[in-house]
Point group: D2
Chain length 371, copies 4
Amino acid sequence: MYLATYEVDQKFGTKYHERFKKFYQHLQRNDLIAGIAMTDVKGDRSLRPSEQADPDLYLHMVEEKEDGIVVRGAKAHQTGALNCHYTVVMPTRAMGPEDRDYAVAFSVPMSSPGLIHVYGRQFSDTRKMEECGFDTGNSLYGMQETLLIFDNVFVPWENVYLYKEYEFAERISGLLGSHHRCSYGGCKTGVSDVLIGAAALLAQYNGVAKASHVRSKITEMITLAETLYGCGLASAYEGHKTSAGNYMNDFLLANVCKLNVARITNQIGQLALDIAGGLVTTLPSERDFRSPEVGKFLEKYLKGVKEVPTEHRMRVFRLIENLMFGGGAGGYVVESIHGAGSPEAQKTMIPRESNLNHKISAAKRIAGIKE
Amino acid sequence: MYLATYEVDQKFGTKYHERFKKFYQHLQRNDLIAGIAMTDVKGDRSLRPSEQADPDLYLHMVEEKEDGIVVRGAKAHQTGALNCHYTVVMPTRAMGPEDRDYAVAFSVPMSSPGLIHVYGRQFSDTRKMEECGFDTGNSLYGMQETLLIFDNVFVPWENVYLYKEYEFAERISGLLGSHHRCSYGGCKTGVSDVLIGAAALLAQYNGVAKASHVRSKITEMITLAETLYGCGLASAYEGHKTSAGNYMNDFLLANVCKLNVARITNQIGQLALDIAGGLVTTLPSERDFRSPEVGKFLEKYLKGVKEVPTEHRMRVFRLIENLMFGGGAGGYVVESIHGAGSPEAQKTMIPRESNLNHKISAAKRIAGIKE
Amino acid sequence: MYLATYEVDQKFGTKYHERFKKFYQHLQRNDLIAGIAMTDVKGDRSLRPSEQADPDLYLHMVEEKEDGIVVRGAKAHQTGALNCHYTVVMPTRAMGPEDRDYAVAFSVPMSSPGLIHVYGRQFSDTRKMEECGFDTGNSLYGMQETLLIFDNVFVPWENVYLYKEYEFAERISGLLGSHHRCSYGGCKTGVSDVLIGAAALLAQYNGVAKASHVRSKITEMITLAETLYGCGLASAYEGHKTSAGNYMNDFLLANVCKLNVARITNQIGQLALDIAGGLVTTLPSERDFRSPEVGKFLEKYLKGVKEVPTEHRMRVFRLIENLMFGGGAGGYVVESIHGAGSPEAQKTMIPRESNLNHKISAAKRIAGIKE
Amino acid sequence: MYLATYEVDQKFGTKYHERFKKFYQHLQRNDLIAGIAMTDVKGDRSLRPSEQADPDLYLHMVEEKEDGIVVRGAKAHQTGALNCHYTVVMPTRAMGPEDRDYAVAFSVPMSSPGLIHVYGRQFSDTRKMEECGFDTGNSLYGMQETLLIFDNVFVPWENVYLYKEYEFAERISGLLGSHHRCSYGGCKTGVSDVLIGAAALLAQYNGVAKASHVRSKITEMITLAETLYGCGLASAYEGHKTSAGNYMNDFLLANVCKLNVARITNQIGQLALDIAGGLVTTLPSERDFRSPEVGKFLEKYLKGVKEVPTEHRMRVFRLIENLMFGGGAGGYVVESIHGAGSPEAQKTMIPRESNLNHKISAAKRIAGIKE
């Protein structure tokens, strides 16, 4: 985005650029965390921002004041937004002249009047409120998304970075997308590694770690995960320093990385489910496991190999359940598809960033076609 | 199984066959529902039943009495077992002479002393206990699995259909498996149809039903679902009447059908998630939607096309969530993999049932190899 | 087509129907073979027949005479046409009123004046003319396609079955397509079986038939082939007797069958290549194998397991080469994609034949949506 | 290999290392080209080198002389070997003490007495000898493989780099494999780019370049190709300088890269065939196109969009045929599977190079398992 603002400078002067630079310096203080809010709620997807029945279905400027602007709208799927001090708001798509009031980028503190979070439900969310320990499947980590509503929020001019310059809306979302999509090659590989470890561990607990089909599936899971990692690394390594002074990764490879995440992550998950077995979905509750009546039966009948406590085995089933169907599944399964832009967004960028004419020329040359 | 008992007859006389026939006639009374319990809990998968550290990890006969037998063990993943009057118990795998006490098939009423159900947790199970209406995603149907424990259950001789005839254990499980695996071509296609409908409906609500990529994905979902249906139909149509008088479907196609279910069902689901969008995992709760404070914001910002009430759209998101991550996901996603036998069970049957030597002969003939 | 002509009757009277019926009876004589010519050469695919720069790029009536019509155009990819006595010509697509001269169906003997075959090149075609025996890879069978040109061919009225009734053009091509697409479930499964046999045989010759990865790949090949077979069977079994007296298979399943052929056949082939090894492409010629100078080296170094003659092993490599890259690959690999209509043709039919509204209704009912 | 010889030094002294270094310097002369010969012909794959019925089925030392050694055996699939001045020979697999005579690495000039090339057949190879111009499909490039037979070839000591040190055989083949497998991410992406260009060009010539399904397939082809490229880049960028002074790329990512090539390249090819259409396999010959009798008909009926000469369109069909079934298909389709080691070789390396225990530990930590 810094690059985009630099480009804005070339045309409109340095005001936004300088402001944004100042904001970044501000953020580099250790005690501030900022999120980035991009995805509008979008209403009818066949209509542009300015064509919606309700003009607020994309966030926009509703009033211009002497000391700043007032904005209204909502940003969906804001992962971790509740934990941030600030949010940086950007346009979510290309815009035309008629959408100019929607072409705004700015930052606001989360405590701004009119800023409302509505916490989304997660899969099996209320297990976190149960008294028991391991039915959530993840003893350490969680995440959350909110719908972030801007109900007439005031933003002082000094925090406005893009204002009605609609022609930069697409570029800004593309630049952020490129970083975000590249980062998925690390993020989802990391979670995948946990899932691979869980599947391999459960195979040990079930006594099948050395079965050829299990080893083959673990190898496949690793291959798939490293493919994502490789694409992310390649996009980053192929980055270059821009004239604005920041670094920009490779667009094409970033989009390829994310599109692969959308298709491959779930294949890794399916292999984990295949190795694990049906208890992922039929395992009795920890409360039953702890109960004086049936606990002893579960201790006895849910046992795998004799060296491993039944509880260990149950915990791994719950971890896999968490990542594929529970608290972690939103971030792993659904976000792998839609996070950092849905697959169709990548499919729009990929042909644009690859030099198809160059490939056609090579084909003509080799086929001996002379025009 | 009726066929298997007939085969047993050929060798051991008609006692089991006649009993089983009587039991079937018994079941044909309209007021009785019977389930079939096959999958043992299995403990260490690298060991045979008789080799387990705890001999009860496969269900077996523990005492022979004058009027019947006493059995101990547990059967996992018993879908709908709580709704049955009877359960018919069968061996889960091939057995050798050393496993003869494990080679038992019988029926018992669910009210038998010593029969214990431990209800499994389902994904997002406690939503069913919330006061609200649509957060479960399915207003009409549900299912449940129990771990069915046989804590010294007595079975009178007249209900015992297989007893120590270990050489029939594999055949019985194969016969039941063949019916069960074929039926998945209908079962999972039916659920897939609901999911296809939900995705198509949400595409309408989102205003993208006519986008070429959406239409292409719907077509793909239908193609995948009908592939499963076609394999199931083919297995059934290729069935034949056995000498015992019942009908047996085609083994090879039944196993191919189920293995395809294990691989294809989830592809259909991924396409549904792709079409639906990220709200599958970040949608706020119905309680918030009904709340006086934020309900109006959700009404406004979760709106799709203007003709459709926001609540309709939310309900479809919850239905997709149900089938992929909630109460229906155990039966759709996990059961598609492990129900009616895990993929490796089908992969064991498929080469056995296909005539590989015939294919090799054809290759030799065409390659002009003369031996 | 018979059904279509019956439908035509309903509207136009029985003239075409009766003629066509007579023709069929004619064909039932044992000594006559008829092909069906459907695919026009099509020129610019973005234009309708009547819009092409050259009006002959779809076959059409160019002159109406008292005793019949004169047609011009060309039909591509005519498999086995050279071996037929007759060809039955049909329209290849839906047509509008402006295309009425293109809406013709008729039969002509292959010896008709003006009918020209141009034989297509096949992969490695000239190996058939070499003196050696096994480099073609197939000692028994072959096929051929011609471009069939109608350079002002006269057709007497009695052999004209559709004439300017453009509104039936789509239905006729759909009806034939349905039979053709269903038949691919048998045809390509048969060839796949040969390829599976060849791969299994080569695994034996290479000494790896019992390796777990080889067995797993063979199982996968069988699963894929039987999936195609199952879809074809299901379409046929779900057929019904029409009011015209003939039988019509299930449209939806026929199209699903063919689309699966287009995607799965080559997966089978890739597994065969994986099992076989690199000699599929680097194997020296039979002439070298027979030569006094280097033959002994090839005999020695191309040996697999010691019990099998080197020539046997070479012959299997050549068979696999034939099916994947040689004389059989046109029919197996390319025809699996484009034969009986290209994949996009099936993708057009599938949503049309499946009842999407029924699926949407089911989703609404379960989601509790009341309108 | 230089690294491996360095490791050898650590144990055995510097003799091999110094020799090999000298050889590399020798090769750096501009006028010398060296190939690397690794793959033995292998005979019965279930037996080790020393267990084969014919001891020559892996290349080995057959005589030790005062001034050098005599070797016998054969190396298969030697791409470009005929164009090299030298070949560097290495072991193809791990070896044990009983295989010590097979643990040899050395270099020899191609003109060495006893060195015999047997040229392999390629698909459609004899088209190159026809008088016509474009039926080969590639007007510029070709490749060739030979079976390289060592019929008692003498190697002076100064060119021997590994001798009976069987414990390094696996490491040497792994090191070379790592470079080779990484390079496939560039090599096969380059050829894929030509094929993508050819498909896009043919879509233009057919008038369908703007059809949504064509654009979607081109995007998919690019995504697949760039995935391979990304994996290759990542392996290279993650390389490190070794203590021997050379650079070594990342083993794990190199193997992942190659395994993806084996699976993805052909998917790209299938999409090209889908876009192209059936003329890839039924196109008449250039000789017919040039003939006075039927040439005019081909000119007329093989025309696509009106602006493009028929010959241009035919040439692109031939180029696609070349890459998928002709002179280029050995290098593109088969070599993508088996070049740089068959898929099973990568599947052996991948789990070994990934830290599975680390993943298991992460799973345990998150599941709250304490031992």
